[in-house]
Point group: C2
Chain length 332, copies 2
């Protein structure tokens, strides 16, 4: 009988899920709104509705299968406890709530979902770690024992694999390369500190760079026609591809900041390869070329010209669902 795992990818807006085999083939997929369940007390209904939607999707399969487990990728997840812990954008306190004990916002989703599927093995980790395991199980990191995944979205996520295993750390929260301090006293970061890598290298980061450069440079650019509030990173890619010097400088600078940080990361874990995944990575050589150049420029000599910087192999697939399901396949 065919073995399938369920992968669940929880974002702030939607929760996507699907049934995946060990080769990464997706047999069914569906989605529910996450945003429809914004408050703490909506969580039980969210779990019930999610379970029901998963069952509906599963019943669409016209063959028999064995369910081997459920893997979940979600923000602020802790694999050790199977929980989502005090997430910034999920199941929040209502405005009028006075008892704001954050311990009330630790959601034991792995156990809560497993219970509804006969106690099947259910694992949860953050989305960057899930993508990392997806890369290892189905992607370009197949067979690699030591690699790093960098996910470039609104922020910068990362996952580290050493000796063939994810580094979760003592508290399950390891792999926050987006919050390496790369510029002391630099840009304010959403984490409350200053100068974090993700304030420079992410969709938001490169947008901030564009506005910084509009101030610093006098070069004309079509980017000067768009207000900050309507601006998005894709406009920079488009302008750079058309040869706009300011947009190209945005990518050069972003690659410099990323390359420097990667050179530091290599001194710690000395990976075989570093994979770039997500929106910015889709800009191709615009981002890969300066990243590689500045990584090598800043690399300590024993590590020079050894570490590959490669595109993710799950970039164009449904990486969120696949990565979450890979949590299960990795342990089978």
């Amino acid at each position: 009988m065919k073995k399938l795992a369920i992968g669940v990818d929880i974002g702030g807006i939607n929760t996507a899920f699907g049934m995946v085999d060990e080769q990464g083939e997706l047999y069914a997929e569906s989605v529910i709104s996450t945003r429809k369940y914004p408050h703490l007390e909506d969580y039980p209904t969210y779990v019930a509705d999610l379970a029901e939607a998963i069952r509906a999707m599963a019943s669409s399969l016209d063959f028999e299968y064995e369910l081997v487990g459920i893997g979940i990728g979600a923000p602020n997840s802790n694999i050790h406890n199977g929980s989502i812990e005090t997430p910034a954008n999920l199941w929040k306190f209502r405005e009028e709530e006075t008892n704001r004990d954050e311990q009330r916002r630790v959601f034991r989703l792995a156990a809560d979902l497993s219970e509804r599927f006969g106690g099947v093995k259910t694992l949860i980790t953050n989305d960057a770690n899930a993508a990392t395991i997806g890369e290892m199980v189905y992607g370009n990191a197949k067979g690699m024992k030591d690699f790093v995944m960098i996910t470039l979205g609104t922020g910068l996520g990362s996952g580290f694999v050493a000796n063939g295993e994810m580094i979760y750390g003592h508290d399950g929260l390891a792999g926050e390369a987006g919050h390496l301090i790369v510029e002391r006293g630099g840009r304010t970061c959403g984490c409350g500190r200053q100068g974090c890598l993700e304030a420079y290298v992410s969709a938001t980061g490169i947008k901030r760079t564009a506005f910084d450069l509009m101030a610093k440079m006098t070069t004309p650019s079509p980017l000067r026609e768009v207000p900050f509030s309507e601006f998005d990173a894709a406009m920079i890619s488009k302008a750079a591809a058309a040869g706009d010097p300011l947009a190209k400088e945005c990518f050069r600078f972003t690659g410099e900041m990323l390359g420097r940080a990667l050179a530091d990361i290599v001194t710690i874990t000395s990976p075989e390869a570093i994979f770039l995944f997500g929106g910015l990575a889709k800009a191709g050589e615009l981002i890969f070329e300066p990243t590689r150049y500045y990584m090598e420029q800043n690399m300590m000599f024993p590590f020079k010209n050894k570490v590959k910087v490669l595109p993710s192999g799950i970039q164009d697939k449904n990486a969120g669902i696949l990565g979450a399901a890979a949590l299960i396949w990795q342990q089978c």
Copy 2:
């Protein structure tokens, strides 16, 4: 029959070795000069003399034992290949050598030594990794799955353990935290780059800080009586312990640089504890207090007030020999 491992600690001046049981008890120890064998062509004699000296030491034991293996800690060592690769201070080319192919300076010491002891299991790694394993097997990291070791000597070495295993990296050279760039365009480092952590945090680093502060501050200090060439880090500890403000500022600054770097390291591997080992660590609260303070000041919130900064538990023992022997015990 008692099981013993041989631990060999190779430094630029001496090679110390001893016979160690699984509890870290040392039954015999001895030493030969490393400096007596300075050139490439001295290496075979070095191996022969080392083996003979080990045999002489072993024959001093008045009980029977089973030799389970030989562990070696040495600079520039690669555990994957069992070799010491192009070491800066060992078995160098003679002045007059014209064929300076560095591949000739890859020394397969694990195989060469094993051969002389009936093919017994022989492993080699760098001294900081050996100390890390020593901490795990006999020291304060017993039972920990995720920790970091920082060795403070002339330079700054480090070892990372995740999921209970050393992170050696793809090329066997991982764990060079001394070469994280902490000050872009900062102090020149022996590695040829600028601003490396060990240029600030090490015996050499704090000495450089003392001279920088003598230039920047006008405070009187007994340290101003000593020329650079005769100065050593112990003088700063002594002056600080006696209340000298300039010497105390040296430690505060060193702790700030180390604390910042540790906060970055925690975002990557999220360890349970960080151990400080070596000369500077012996200064006790002079270095621990500012290190902890600035680590927490710079820590991203999910990691705050969780990570212990502790003294090494093998600090006062013969850590070099014990750590090297622990390489064998860890794998038994």
